[in-house]
């Protein structure tokens, strides 16, 4: 057999994706009225400040709470905050 016809076994350079646990989305709310909802935003304030302002103006019956940072990573809710939070809107503007 000519060298050019020789068959080679060639190996896979691709990395190994490890298994992980997946979770359902948090239960949806029947209505936002009277609920405690966190606006958790990071990064560019051009949109995040406007978002917070409009949410508070258009939905005054919601108990809005804000977690704000201007860097890349959002500030996580504390365990205490998680106990009373009904929902979170996570805004990443980067």
């Amino acid at each position: 057999m000519a060298e050019k016809d020789r068959v080679y076994r060639c190996l896979n350079p691709v990395g190994i994706q490890t298994p992980l646990d997946t979770f359902p989305l948090a239960p949806r709310l029947d209505s936002v009225d009277g609920k405690e909802i966190y606006i958790s935003v990071c990064g560019e304030p051009d949109i995040t400040l406007a978002l917070e302002k409009k949410l508070k103006r258009d939905y005054p019956n919601v108990n809005w709470k804000t977690k704000r940072t201007y860097i890349t990573d959002p500030v996580p809710l504390t365990d205490e905050e998680m106990k009373t939070a009904d929902g979170v809107i996570q805004g990443v503007a980067w």
């Binding site: 080679y8 060639c10 298994p19 949806r28 940072t69 990573d73």
Partner: protein, 459 residues
């Protein structure tokens, strides 16, 4: 990228909406707020309620069987990536032809290390990664660290396969394994370049070019080692332009990969090598993996002849600028490049300078690299007024001006306009590497020191 991050975080069905890149925020939210609230109240679908275990199939060890010509074509295959790329992108390569990783070639490559082929790539020392994640020896390396919650791992054999593809030799494998220990992250948008820098006896052992043209083509050592980083970023970390590697221009530093090294013989007396600076012994071989080079390479700002006139006899434009006309050196040539260094970006730089110019800095009075780092740090101070006219500080370092300025301990917003702040976080963030030919030239990489890994532990 959102989907990848969501899956890695265990919530693959996450609901999300895109904001606009161009519409002013107040206008943009007009069209976003109602849909956001709708997604909070719209009942979950069956798919969104699911939980369980995501178990991707482990990739087969054998990828292809055929002739070398057929294999070459197979490894060169592409996939069309839509917006924002709109072009075919190679699945397994950096776009260039590779050395086909046959079983025999990989077995030969594996002779370059005492580590077993099926060993997982694990951290060899304690390390704090980006995002503040603390790693201890033996913890598996998570590839693609640019994404917060990567779940990819690799074995020694996987690294060897990529080393073969890059054109490396078995004696390079410990270096490639040390580079793999970095996780081969590629960042996301604004810091798109990566390079590796070697220091210690390995430089001479493998014939790395640290002389003329060391950042350019020609070396059968520098090129393949630099390329191995990029192939591992693609194959082990899964970096794909326009999908999770979002540097909008890419970077020529990554095109083929960049590896350079320190010319230890060129260090002025008293100046430590990068290995010793990083806490290793002079006889230890290390690699610095520079994951966050922003701004690419800035070349020499002066003519070599002009530089020589400046140092030898105090003539020419450089001497006129510093009012040392007629006075021979040594002069601090760094003063010439400082005004342009931080013109458009903040942070530390890596200075790659030829031995002669390093010697001039020693003779001028910098008895160690640290002396030069301290001097550079002091040059980086500007007034708060000027600092406020920059872009990144709106986000990084000041947290939208709501944080505390570290040198004063006072809130940023309370500091007077004439208060001086540094554009470099720490003097030791800067890095000097002595390398290059005999012509008087220095280049600067935007971005300073990266994490350093022992090569010797991977022998």
């Amino acid at each position: 990228m959102v989907r990848q991050e969501a899956l890695s975080s265990g919530v693959p069905a996450i609901r999300y909406l895109h904001g606009s890149r161009t519409r002013p925020g107040p206008e943009d939210v007009d069209s976003l707020v109602e849909p956001i609230l709708k997604e909070m109240t719209r009942p979950l679908t069956d798919e969104e309620k699911q939980s369980g275990r995501w178990e991707p199939s482990r990739p087969d060890r054998l990828l292809f069987e055929g002739t070398l010509d057929e294999a070459q074509a197979f490894y060169q295959q592409t996939k069309y990536i839509g917006l924002p790329v709109n072009a075919p992108i190679s699945l397994y390569t950096d776009g260039y032809p590779i050395i086909v990783p046959t079983e025999e070639r990989v077995a030969e490559m594996l002779k370059g290390t005492s580590h077993k082929p099926d060993e997982l790539i694990v951290h060899q020392s304690e390390r704090v990664l980006r995002w503040g994640v603390r790693m201890k020896p033996g913890d598996p390396v998570a590839f693609q660290q640019g994404v917060q919650s990567s779940r990819r791992t690799a074995t020694v054999e996987k690294v060897a396969i990529n080393a073969v593809m890059a054109g490396c030799k078995p004696e390079h494998l410990p270096i490639i394994l040390a580079i793999a220990e970095s996780g081969c992250g590629t960042g996301t948008t604004n810091f798109p370049s990566q390079a590796v820098c070697l220091s210690g006896p390995i430089v001479k052992q493998i014939g790395l070019n640290t002389g003329c043209g060391h950042l350019g083509p020609g070396s059968p050592v520098n090129g393949p080692i630099g390329r191995a980083f990029q192939l591992m970023a693609i194959n082990l970390s899964g970096a794909i332009p326009g999908v999770n590697r979002m540097g909008c221009h890419g970077s020529p530093i990554n095109n083929g990969g960049t590896c350079f090294g320190e010319n230890a013989d060129g260090l002025p007396p008293g100046w430590l090598g990068m290995n010793e600076e990083s806490g290793f012994d002079k006889n230890e071989s290390v690699v610095m993996v520079m994951l966050n080079i922003g701004g690419g390479i800035v070349g020499s700002q002066f003519s070599p002849g002009g530089y020589r006139a400046f140092q030898k006899s105090g003539h020419g434009g450089m001497a006129r600028r510093f009012d040392v006309k007629g006075r021979p050196g040594p002069h601090n040539w760094l003063e010439y490049i400082v005004p342009g260094l931080w013109a458009a970006r903040e942070g530390a730089f890596t200075f790659v300078m030829v031995p002669e110019m390093a010697r001039h800095l020693l003779d001028y009075g910098f008895k160690s690299k640290d002396d030069a780092y301290d001097w550079l740090y002091k040059q980086s101070f500007i007034t708060i007024k000027d600092f406020k006219g920059r872009s990144w500080p709106d986000y990084q370092g000041t947290n939208g001006w709501t944080g505390i300025e570290k040198t004063s301990g006072r809130p940023w917003r309370e500091l007077p306009d004439d208060y001086m702040v540094a554009l470099v976080d720490d003097p030791f963030d800067s890095l000097i590497i002595v390398a290059g030919g005999e012509e008087e030239a220095s280049v600067q990489f935007g971005g300073g020191r990266g994490p350093v890994y022992s090569i010797d532990v991977w022998r």
